[in-house]
């Protein structure tokens, strides 16, 4: 992706759209099914725990709200990185990409901390239905964020080698699409999993 160009690549396709961008949107559509399945398992089992700990016993909504805010802001920095490379400002792009990656790592650290807190309160993967569905759902989401951080870091690294120029904005755009998708999955998770909890 890094060494590719925007200018020549999407001119001659039957739809006029770039192959890779088409691929990314198909992938995101497919991921809806993936996360939909995980979220559904959580929703199905939400009220069926026969033993604790229960969600309201472990959730720290203020903490998770801050985490969510961090991830949302990372989407802002991501789109600013894209805007930067689209107008040819590589230095600004680097700053915003680094900011996005750092915010992503902050989010992940928050997740790791949250998981530790839950563990200390007795919620393990094997404790009950809540433990299994919660950790697998948020774990996969976190894994997706981690992959995103890797992708952003790679683009950042390549840009320091001078390999990322204005005509490579598609690479940043595609990384951005992936990143925003991971963010909207979290928007859904934050509401359905954290905020809408049985009391």
């Amino acid at each position: 992706m890094q060494a590719t160009t925007t200018a020549e690549s999407h001119l001659e396709t039957s739809t006029g759209l770039d192959n890779r961008k088409l691929l990314m949107w198909l992938f995101l559509g497919s991921e809806c099914l993936f996360f939909g399945s995980l979220i559904s398992a959580y929703l199905l089992y939400r009220n069926r725990n026969t033993v604790g700990p229960y969600p309201h016993e472990v959730y720290d909504i203020p903490f998770t709200s801050i985490s969510s805010f961090v991830l949302l802001m990372s989407s802002v920095s991501m789109v600013l990185a894209l805007a930067a490379i689209q107008r040819g400002d590589i230095r600004a792009m680097r700053i915003w990409l680094a900011a996005t990656a750092l915010l992503g790592i902050t989010f992940l650290s928050g997740q790791a901390f949250e998981f530790t807190e839950f563990y200390d309160k007795g919620l393990k993967l094997d404790s009950n239905l809540f433990g299994s569905t919660f950790f697998v759902l948020t774990g996969f989401h976190g894994a997706h964020v981690a992959v995103g951080v890797l992708i952003l870091s790679s683009i950042l690294a390549r840009s320091f080698q001078g390999e990322v120029r204005q005509e490579h904005s598609l690479a940043v755009e595609l990384a951005g699409l992936y990143w925003h998708f991971v963010d909207i999955v979290w928007i859904v998770i934050f509401t359905l999993v954290y905020l809408i909890t049985p009391q």
Binding site: G16, P62, A83, L125, T191
Partner: protein, 143 residues
């Protein structure tokens, strides 16, 4: 081995730590690599690739970001206020608003070719539809 990873924070935290270190290493290595001189940037105008219409500007992106933060704050506030049966619809509407803001503006779907929206909404609608049926069939409820 299984016991070591029983603690989910380890199962999750250690790989992330590794990822973070790798990422940091990559950035550091690249930062100290000699930078190659970049060729002349595309003369003057930036040509939008086909399939794009106008772009929001930096200012608009920041505004949307503020809006997202605001909606999140409202969501959290609503969580603490007792509005009984209304809480679920209100939260769903608020999160849908955030979802749409990110998808339409940050992911640029509002301005891009319809085909992208078709693929994404196709997958999204399919997921929602089949899983509503699964949950209904198995007698789950949202509250």
């Amino acid at each position: 081995m299984k016991a070591f990873f029983e603690d989910p924070s380890r199962l999750v935290g250690i790989p992330f730590l590794v990822v973070g270190l790798i990422g940091a290493a990559i950035v550091l290595m690249a930062a100290f690599a000699p930078e190659r001189p970049a060729p002349q940037a595309a003369a003057g105008r930036y040509a939008l690739p086909p399939g794009h219409a106008r772009h929001p500007g930096v200012g608009e992106y920041v505004n949307i970001g503020l809006l997202l933060a605001l909606i999140t704050a409202v969501e959290v506030a609503v969580y603490y206020i007792d509005i009984a049966g209304l809480i679920v619809p209100v939260l769903l509407v608020l999160s849908a608003a955030k979802f749409l803001l990110v998808v339409l503006f940050f992911m640029h779907l509002r301005f891009d070719n319809r085909l992208f929206s078709t693929f994404f909404s196709g997958g999204f609608v399919l997921a929602v539809a089949v899983f509503i049926v699964v949950l209904a069939t198995l007698g789950a409820s949202l509250r």
